[in-house]
């Protein structure tokens, strides 16, 4: 009887084995073509030349594809023990598959009817990491197992463990134990303490959720689990566990949080990927020399962080938790080199690059482009008188548009310079109406703006999406007295042998005559001195500067774009969801209140210790004082005078009733009889009354 039972069991097992064997052969035949070839050596798998990105000061600011492969002797033994205890306690005894672990995982998976537990050995994980995707499928699992068996048959346990330690992902962008040690603890893998080793050994299983930078408590819990497994695997005793938990972890500062260059770097990478392909950038072993000035970038980050904190307080906490965002771009006028590109408050929180995104309206910061077009095409000057009053403009037959000033405030007659300083919408709308939007768009293109611009009158108020990078570039044309230097981010690219693959050449193009652009520059200086951007002076910024504020409808965007002789900068503040920036008291955030302080803080720091440099005055420009309401040359009876820069050929006159010339220059003797119109504009250049 016993013998018969034994024979039956033996037969069943034999049949089962045969069945497994046949199943194995069948599977192999089926999967044979999909099984990958193994490399000759596991040492070579980490060899890849890193691509280095440099700042303009010559410092490495990012390394792509960098691996720090180390031999087992250069890894703390406590780390390898912790890893084995956590990931594969029978590593040294199995042949690639841990039957006990696998059976336990299979039972759990069958019970839960899904692949919830892997039961993978270190060899299987290495097999997966080297060859397969991360999707959990049975077929992938079988292939991974077969390759694991081959790895065990080909390489020693030490080679397998070393390869695993060098390529496994530890979170925070760290691949391999050496890189992870540097990222998390700022030290070499061979110098890890027991507690540090245990924390790192717990990361491959959950690199994000148990990441000490993201969730320290969870990371410590995972570390304790690892230490307990080390105890149960007899790698350490309970006393060592207690001692380890009492030591200081000495976690390094989070690299991403303290790196304000990330937006710039990522923009450079994406531009290069688009131009040359991903492989070229990540596997080319390149040296990419960029234009970023990390010192200025840090100032921009500080300016944003400091001012946004005060704005956050003013705005209060929103129900949805959304916070204000900001973007800063700064260019070197002489060359077009982008020195600062900050696409948001914190890259680790949001990777969306607002500095290069053109999804936000420019608002009034677009008006200088309108004014320049008008001065070029309508023959008007900063002293030309405009009437600021409610107006209805004809858009198309039967369709009208009624532009309104900020706060619905109107100033009647005033000169063009004062209109820009006060950022009057009606005046700008009248100019575009007279010019046609097409002409304004042409000027914008000449100034380097490439975003799509709507051919409609609302262009007068900047109802068009532009990026801070474009705005900084356009404003640098004004600072450069009409020369456009295309903004650029990459100076030079070299391969690993030092051969130059790309180099930037400065190529300034005189897009506008100096005589045409200088009056605009002077008007924009007025914005900073006495206009909507006067906060710049109130904050104590001394350098000669020009700029323009911009606030869009319902306070959705706040801009301040401005320049000194050497630097131009554009600052944007707003919500990503494009909602109004209205504080708890119902007051909205404007370009002057939200963005100009950031601009000023940044510029003060950037130009600290540098001497004040004035803008050169081109030949053919005269400075005259005029009545800011009538445009006549001022005299002793003028109530409010304003100094304007106009071309020499602009004829300015004294008021009709004046008896004496007060010493101001006029290119022709004024004659009230023949020159009744202020500024003596020829008839076709006088803007029509609307």
């Amino acid at each position: 009887m016993k013998r018969r039972i034994f024979e039956k069991i033996a037969f069943s097992i034999f049949t089962l084995l045969i069945a497994f064997f046949l199943l194995g052969i069948g599977l192999y035949i089926d999967l044979k073509d999909d099984l990958p070839q193994l490399p000759d050596s596991l040492e070579k798998i980490n060899l890849s030349l890193p691509t280095e990105i440099y700042s303009s000061q010559g410092n490495v600011i990012k390394v792509l594809g960098q691996r720090h492969p180390v031999s087992l002797s250069e890894i703390s033994p406590q780390f390898t023990e912790a890893m084995i205890a956590t990931e594969d306690s029978r590593f040294y005894s199995h042949g690639g598959v841990d039957h006990i672990g696998l059976t336990r995982a299979m039972l759990r998976n069958i019970r839960s009817m899904r692949i919830s537990q892997g039961g993978s050995t270190i060899t299987q994980q290495l097999s997966k990491n080297l060859f397969f995707s991360f999707e959990r499928r049975w077929v992938r699992k079988i292939k991974e197992l077969m390759v694991a068996l081959q790895i065990e048959a080909t390489f020693s346990k030490e080679e397998i463990l070393e390869a695993y330690c060098n390529q496994v992902y530890f979170g925070s962008g760290a691949y391999g134990v050496e890189d992870a040690s540097l990222v998390y603890f700022g030290k070499r893998a061979k110098d890890l303490t027991l507690l540090q080793a245990a924390m790192l050994a717990g990361l491959p299983n959950s690199p994000n959720s148990a990441n000490p930078f993201n969730n320290f408590e969870r990371a410590m819990k995972r570390t304790r689990t690892v230490l307990n497994r080390m105890v149960s695997s007899n790698f350490i005793g309970s006393l060592q566990l207690q001692e380890a938990l009492e030591t200081d972890l000495e976690l390094a500062p989070h690299r991403i949080q303290s790196n304000p260059n990330q937006y710039f770097i990522q923009h450079v990478i994406s531009k290069l990927e688009k131009e040359y392909g991903k492989e070229f950038v990540h596997f080319g072993g390149l040296k990419i020399f960029t234009t970023i000035d990390t010192r200025l970038q840090k100032f921009a980050q500080q300016a944003v962080t400091t001012h946004m904190k005060s704005l956050d307080k003013r705005m209060g906490t929103r129900e949805d938790g959304e916070t204000l965002q900001a973007a800063v771009v700064s260019l070197e006028n002489k060359t077009g080199a982008v020195r600062v590109l900050l696409g948001g408050r914190d890259y680790s929180q949001s990777q969306f690059n607002r500095a290069v995104s053109n999804n936000r309206m420019a608002g009034s910061s677009f008006k200088p482009i309108v004014y320049l077009t008008a001065m070029e095409n309508l023959g008007i000057s900063p002293a030309t008188v405009m009437r600021d009053e409610p107006v209805i403009l004809q858009i198309s037959p039967g369709k009208t548009w009624e532009p309104k000033n900020f706060n619905d405030e109107y100033f009647g007659d005033l000169i063009l310079k004062r209109a820009l300083m006060k950022s009057l919408n009606v005046v700008s709308a009248k100019l575009v109406n007279d010019l046609t939007p097409e002409r304004v768009i042409k000027t914008a293109r000449q100034m380097g703006i490439t975003s799509p611009l709507g051919e409609n009158l609302s262009l007068a108020l900047g109802a068009t999406g532009v990026s801070p990078l474009e705005m900084a570039g356009a404003y640098s044309v004004i600072a450069n007295l009409g020369i456009l230097n295309e903004p650029y981010l990459i100076d030079r690219i070299e391969d690993f042998r030092g051969n130059t693959l790309y180099e930037h050449f400065y190529f300034g193009v005189q897009r506008f005559s100096q005589k045409t652009i200088y009056p605009l520059l002077d008007m924009m200086r007025g914005v900073v001195e006495e206009g909507t951007g006067r906060v710049v002076r109130r904050m104590g910024f001394q350098h000669p500067a020009g700029g323009k504020t911009g606030t869009t409808n319902d306070y959705k965007d706040a801009w301040f774009d401005g320049f000194t002789k050497d630097l131009s900068a554009s600052v944007w503040v707003g919500y990503d969801s494009n909602i109004s920036m209205v504080d708890r008291n119902g007051r909205g955030l404007t370009g002057g209140g939200a963005s100009a302080p950031i601009w000023t803080y940044f510029m003060k720091k950037a130009l600290s210790g540098k001497s004040l440099v004035n803008f050169p005055v081109p030949e053919g420009i005269q400075f005259v004082e005029v009545d800011s309401k009538t445009g006549y040359l001022s005299n002793s009876s003028t109530a409010k005078t304003m100094k304007v820069a106009v071309k020499n050929d602009v004829v300015l006159t004294l008021p009709p009733s004046t008896d004496s010339i007060q010493g101001y220059f006029a290119s022709e003797e004024p004659d009230p009889e023949t020159n009744p119109v202020p500024n003596n504009m020829v008839e076709e250049n006088v803007l029509p009354e609307l």
Binding site: G24, A153, T154, D491, F505, Y506
Partner: protein, 282 residues
């Protein structure tokens, strides 16, 4: 029992492992590790192609023989880069005193004074050509702007033609021997001589022997009066070549009047198409 199963399983696994190892080379290079290798190869190929293209540009720039060639190759989408050495070679070695009008040699001395000048970048934008003398940071030390239209009749229109004057399009009737031409040259004042004829040292330095000189009008030109070209034929060690250069407008009328010989009046041997003229062309 479990022990024997474990042993049996272990043996099977080993067997499978060794079998797979044995036929490893027959399997395809699939998976991320091989993909990475391929990406490295793609990157290296891209680098090689960029280097090849840059080398070709360098070689092309080095093979340039005249400013005319430089400007012919120039177009708005294709700026030309030449080394300082090449620029100086074209500037001084090619017999183009008129290139001094582009930038004077004294200005070149000044540009070169701080040892920053490395290369010359020529770019065209619309009607304008910019010659940028750039330093090792690629920053222009000096920029010279030339009107593309104004280049006609300037150094840029000088050229070397391989062949004889006749092959270069000069009429037999407007070709003088060097001896006859020199008789005309002697009548010119020194300024007019140097404006008309290249620096003789250039011919001596290259061991070129001037044989004949021809004059022709460019009738296809829209300009009035049509521009005049002079061809100086010389023999090198191996070739006959013609240096073609513009004739300054203030001399061209006088010069043409001296060579306007009716077709039917074939000059006899030894006679000069200038006749017995010995007056001043100016």
């Amino acid at each position: 029992m479990i022990f024997s199963l474990e042993v049996f399983g272990h043996v099977i696994e080993r067997g499978v492992g060794y079998y797979l190892k044995w036929e490893n080379h027959t399997r395809p290079q699939l998976g991320r590790i091989w993909e990475r290798d391929r990406e490295k190869i793609v990157a290296q190929k891209k680098i090689e192609s960029i280097l090849t293209s840059l080398n070709a540009q360098d070689q092309s720039a080095e093979s340039i023989q005249s400013f005319k060639e430089v400007f012919e190759k120039l177009n708005p989408s294709d700026p030309q880069m030449i080394s300082r050495k090449k620029f100086l070679q074209l500037y001084f070695e090619f017999p183009e005193q008129l290139s001094y009008k582009m930038v004077s040699p004294y200005e070149l001395l000044e540009i070169d004074s701080n040892r920053g000048w490395q290369r010359v970048l020529l770019t065209q934008l619309g009607e304008w050509v910019t010659i940028s003398f750039i330093n090792n940071q690629n920053f222009p030390i000096r920029e010279v702007f030339l009107s593309a239209e104004g280049m006609e009749g300037n150094p840029l229109s000088r050229d070397i033609f391989k062949g004889t004057l006749e092959e270069a399009g000069f009429e037999q009737t407007a070709i003088l021997s060097i001896a006859d031409f020199m008789r005309v040259m002697k009548t010119l004042d020194p300024d007019a001589q140097s404006n008309l004829f290249p620096d003789p040292y250039w011919f001596f330095s290259k061991n070129y022997h001037v044989t004949r000189v021809g004059v022709k009008e460019i009738e296809s030109s829209d300009e009035y009066p049509p521009p005049v070209r002079m061809g100086v034929e010389y023999q090198s060690d191996f070739y006959t070549e013609v240096l073609i250069l513009p004739v300054p407008t203030d001399i061209s009328d006088n010069l043409l009047s001296q060579v306007e010989i009716p077709v039917y009046e074939e000059p006899t041997e030894g006679s000069s198409p200038f006749g017995d003229f010995e007056g001043d062309l100016n």
